[in-house]
């Protein structure tokens, strides 16, 4: 397979997302439908979804979704997993044979808990341990990829159009309080199963429409902290940047947005003294984590969503709501499919994060 830099394919992408602020569960059917009017934004080389709240019966376990090139690879990987985790359940992820989706790898999921003895001997907290294990498998184990590793959430992705990928993974059988979706039109890299969005690590998932021109600068910086960008596409670096800034460095999501989509100095200059100090600090402290080039992204996390555009707003994105539901999409038409009577349709400005969380007390 040709890698980044060896092949160039011209561009698009579609994203959509929904969240119930009351924490009510919705099946994956509507979000799949929502991708249909945006069909022409993708070219059939990748589609995917992330659902939150979909595994309530295993909510305390990390759900590892994995691709394997062969059955033998899976067996080898299981040996490795058993050294590190208690596996409470392992199963094939149910799929539906359809003509639109072909050449699928072996697709499996494991519900796991890190072994306490391993954690204490490595002196790591649970999340750090899981993140390092994911990096290790994806980097060192040829033919094995962890593409989802959060609790009570999961990503589902494939080569194909998103509306077919949703049918392939039987998303109508899952129920989540929030969903994100992506239709891919790869620009610089080949379409392959691991390269479809969302890109996920722990509870984070990212769907992205755009092209990161700062990819290598971002990658070089983030790889100093143990992350490995090996999925051959630019988007995964955003997931790791979020994990690093929010989980490791302890920034708020809003501050992380101020790093990734840092305002121009001239814009910072025009802000209030407090804001000026904050944005100057963030730009100065993390200059290598500014993401440049066009992007609109939706970040999924436990209990919420964050939508963010690049500061020049070179990609479209609209937000709307209805009752306790909030909708985000590249095009209003997608929102109308999910909720014909959606209200307050608006387009966030470039660099303006829109953070939606479930209400306090919502059962997520």
């Amino acid at each position: 397979m040709k890698k980044e830099g060896q092949i160039r394919i011209p561009s698009g992408c579609a994203i959509a997302a929904v969240i119930s602020r009351d924490g009510e569960r919705m099946s994956g059917e509507k979000i799949t439908e929502a991708m249909k009017p945006m069909h022409d934004r993708s070219n059939g080389l990748g589609g995917g979804f992330a659902g939150y709240g979909i595994y309530p019966e295993y909510r305390d376990f990390y759900a590892l979704h994995m691709f394997f090139d062969r059955r033998d690879t899976r067996k080898e990987c299981e040996v490795f997993l058993k050294e590190r985790f208690e596996i409470v359940k392992s199963e094939i992820i149910p799929t539906r044979k359809i003509p639109a989706i072909t050449d699928e790898p072996v697709i499996w999921r494991y519900f796991v808990a890190p072994l306490k003895s391993v954690l204490s001997s490595m002196q790591l907290d649970e999340k750090e341990f899981v993140a390092r294990t994911v990096m290790k498998i994806n980097t060192e184990m040829h033919g094995a990829y962890v593409f989802s590793s959060g609790k009570n959430m999961g990503t589902f992705k494939a080569v194909g159009f998103p509306e077919d990928v949703g049918v392939f993974y039987r998303l109508e059988e899952y129920e989540g309080y929030s969903w994100t979706a992506h239709g891919r039109y790869p620009t610089n890299t080949p379409g392959w199963w691991g390269g479809a969005h969302p890109f996920s690590l722990l509870d984070w998932s990212i769907v992205h429409n755009g092209e990161i021109s700062s990819y290598d600068a971002n990658r070089r910086f983030i790889e100093m902290f143990g992350y490995k960008c090996n999925l051959q596409t630019d988007t995964e670096v955003i997931t790791y940047i979020i994990d690093y800034l929010v989980r490791v460095q302890g920034l708020t999501l809003e501050e992380a947005a101020g790093v990734i989509a840092a305002p121009f100095w001239s814009t910072i200059e025009s802000k209030s003294p407090d804001e000026r100090r904050k944005y100057t600090y963030l730009r100065t402290l993390f200059p290598s984590l500014i993401v440049t080039g066009p992007f609109s992204v939706v970040l999924g996390f436990s209990g919420g969503l964050m939508a963010l555009n690049d500061r020049l707003k070179l990609r479209s994105m609209v937000v709307g709501d209805k009752d306790d539901r909030v909708f985000i999409a590249s095009e209003e038409a997608a929102i109308r499919v999910m909720e014909p009577d959606a209200e307050n349709i608006w387009a966030p400005a470039g660099g303006e994060p829109v953070i939606i969380t479930t209400k306090e007390g919502a059962d997520i």
């Binding site: 121009f264 707003k313 095009e331 209003e332 387009a347 470039g350």
Partner: protein, 241 residues
């Protein structure tokens, strides 16, 4: 008699084929994201119920389009003649490289409205935005007229950041004293003078007629006129000319 096309199960190709087969007054119902509606069309009156997709009225050549909802990105891309009326807001890059005709938007416009509009002799495109405009309004504007009214803006700025970046032709009317707006060096922003009023009134009159506003009330406000300083902004960029 008006023709009704139900767009519910139609892709953009089928929908545009149906449009081409019909003439006169046509209503599209249940529209949801179909792109390129009425592209290049010249002799029809089209009403759209539901949200049309990107590039509505691209290369429009005289047809009239009314949208009873919001419209998405690139409305009137490279439009040559005709009229597009949107009873809602519009997405980014409206009127991209537009060279004739008129676009009236009741509400807000996204980023880059009027990017690279141009004009030649009697071909003078006009965009009237009733609400506020996003950043980069009139980016690389080379001709034509952009009017932003900022109605119901409350305390929101009438345009976002970096308006008129690279503007080197045409004109803008902004219904504000623009004290809170930073313009680039190559344009002049000045209060509208008496001689500007007849032209401005023509656009505002039509906007008010279309969307039911009181013309007097809309005109009772300071207006700022923005024009580029030079007819040749590239002077001495490379050689003296």
């Amino acid at each position: 008699m008006a023709v009704i096309i139900d767009a519910k199960q139609l892709g953009y190709k089928e929908l545009n084929c149906r449009l081409r087969e019909e003439s006169g007054d046509i209503t599209i119902s249940d529209c949801c994201g179909q792109r390129f509606i009425a592209a290049g069309m010249s002799d029809k009156k089209i009403t759209i119920n539901g949200v049309p997709g990107n590039a509505l009225g691209a290369y429009l050549n005289g047809a009239e389009i009314t949208v009873n909802a919001n419209a998405q990105d690139a409305v009137g891309d490279t439009m040559n003649a005709g009229k597009i009326v949107v009873h809602g807001g519009i997405g980014d890059a409206a009127g991209y490289a537009m060279r004739g005709g008129r676009i009236f938007v009741k509400g807000d416009a996204g980023y880059r409205a009027g990017i690279h509009m141009k004009a030649y002799k009697e071909k003078v495109p006009v965009i009237v935005i009733g609400g506020c405009a996003g950043s980069f309004l009139g980016e690389y504007q080379a001709g034509g007229v952009i009017v932003v009214l900022g109605l119901e803006a409350d305390d929101k700025k009438i345009v976002g950041y970096f308006p008129c970046t690279g503007m080197h032709g045409g004109k803008m009317f902004l219904r504000s004293d623009c004290r809170d707006i930073k313009f680039p060096g190559q344009v002049t922003a000045r209060p509208a003078a008496d001689e500007d009023m007849p032209e401005l009134e023509e656009y505002v009159k039509e906007y008010c007629r279309l969307f039911g506003y009181d013309e007097k009330a809309v005109m009772d406000s300071p207006f700022t006129v923005v024009t580029p300083d030079s007819r040749n902004p590239y002077k001495q960029m490379y050689v003296a000319n």
